[in-house]
């Protein structure tokens, strides 16, 4: 049961409680949500948009949407973090696919391919166990599968566009998507780990 109390310690509240309070207009609760998840949201936005300013604009738009429609969060659909990241992702895809932003070039594909190399992409210190698990899971993917997943997820390319860009048969692109996701699933299943959500 959420208690809207001026003296409450927001740090002790679960994400779901903060969202419920934000829904009632509690700006401090919303600030708590922002402080917990803005880094992950910005990291995703930056990875997708490739520029700090565009990524910040995207994150601002997403968090304002969250503030104004916190009631649309449904706990049964996943964690607050997953919800926030899905909004960032959906909006990012829209922006990438809009004509104004459609400046993705073969260069970017190449850059993306470079970033997909495990030695670089995973050189960062990971902040938490879930990130570590995801990193380890992605390490099990052959680079050609990871590249296709990243082109779709981060750059907003459709499977047909990926087929054109990489000059691969469409069936090969679909096959790599299937195998890539299956390998991630198998990674968690084989270690009896819950899929982070």
């Amino acid at each position: 049961m959420v208690v809207a109390n001026g003296n409450q310690n927001y740090l002790l509240l679960a994400d779901e409680d903060l969202i419920a309070l934000a829904e009632t207009g509690d700006s401090k609760a919303f600030a708590g949500i922002y402080d917990r998840h803005s880094r992950a949201a910005f990291s995703l936005a930056y990875r997708m948009m490739g520029e700090r300013q565009t990524a910040e604009d995207l994150v601002q738009e997403v968090f304002l949407k969250i503030w104004r429609s916190a009631a649309s969060y449904r706990v049964e659909r996943g964690s607050v973090r997953t919800w926030i990241l899905s909004i960032v992702h959906n909006r990012g895809i829209d922006l990438l696919r809009s004509s104004a932003s459609r400046r993705r070039t073969q260069d970017k594909v190449q850059a993306s391919a470079t970033m997909s190399q495990p030695s670089e992409a995973f050189a960062e210190t990971w902040r938490n166990t879930q990130r570590d698990q995801v990193r380890e899971a992605l390490k099990t993917l052959p680079p050609e599968q990871l590249k296709i997943l990243e082109l779709a997820y981060f750059s907003g390319y459709t499977h047909m566009e990926i087929s054109d860009l990489l000059d691969l048969p469409l069936g090969t692109v679909k096959g790599r998507m299937r195998l890539g996701l299956k390998k991630i699933k198998d990674y968690f299943a084989s270690r009896d780990l819950a899929i982070p959500g």
Partner: protein
């Protein structure tokens, strides 16, 4: 275009989870899903797997300026919202009641006439009551839409009902509520997803009392009444003495 079959669905499901379908394919895919909801779980699982990619990004810190700008907008909107709530609270009960009792859609029957006439004595001016009664009398009788609250032993003799009126608004009408003492009051709670939100105070007194419930019942699971310190509480401090599931 031919309707998507199971084979085509299996061929496209990973691309769908990665949001890598063209618009037309996506629509076709979602139409299939709507016809075959038993396959939704499969898609949910693939989407969860795809969304893990979001956690694989190199961590980047947004600028403090972003937080400042965002919170400035948010706090501004929160202030406006609070000011609107205060303004609304200052609006006379008469205005609110006549709003609730938008008579063409009134959910009260003739019984409400007597109730309103009696119960409003405590809270509105007599002139307003006459106007209100006059308007209610002109209104067509609508089917009542009442919810009975059940109570503990202490409130066994009380009759408490929520009368749903306009939209998801309601008026609480009560008879024979037990006295709670000078330092206490009864408080209504509208509970949504286990979160109680105050629906206003009820001061027992006289045979009949009524109060508009200040929270919308939309999406609510329960309504409860607790005994609280005079002036009400931010959150319930005691167990409900009456409650109803909606």
């Amino acid at each position: 275009m031919s309707e998507m079959g199971h084979e085509r669905f299996d061929e496209l499901k990973e691309a769908y989870a990665l949001k890598a379908l063209a618009e037309e394919e996506r629509r076709e895919f979602e139409e299939y899903l709507a016809r075959n909801p038993e396959r939704q779980a499969e898609i949910d699982q693939l989407s969860s797997l795809a969304s893990l990619l979001a956690l694989s990004t190199l961590e980047q810190e947004p600028s403090p300026k972003l937080r400042r700008g965002l919170m400035s907008v948010v706090e501004g909107e929160a202030r406006v919202s609070r000011a609107e709530s205060r303004r609304e609270a200052r609006t006379s009960l008469f205005t609110r009641l006549t709003g609730y009792f938008s008579f063409q859609r009134l959910a009260l029957g003739a019984a409400a006439l007597a109730v309103i006439g009696l119960i409003s004595l405590n809270v509105v001016q007599r002139g307003e009551i006459q106007d209100l009664q006059s308007q209610i009398e002109k209104a067509p009788t609508a089917q009542s839409n009442n919810i009975v609250l059940r109570g503990s032993v202490a409130t066994r003799d009380a009759d408490v009902e929520l009368v749903k009126v306009k939209g998801q608004r309601a008026v609480l009408i009560a008879r024979n509520l037990p006295p709670v003492g000078k330092e206490k009051t009864l408080q209504i709670w509208v509970i949504k997803d286990d979160t109680p939100q105050s629906g206003g105070l009820v001061k027992p007194g006289g045979q009949l009392v009524s109060t508009p419930v200040t929270q919308s019942l939309e999406g609510a699971d329960k309504v409860a009444i607790t005994i609280e310190p005079a002036g009400g509480s931010e959150a319930p401090t005691s167990a409900p003495v009456m409650a109803a599931k909606l």
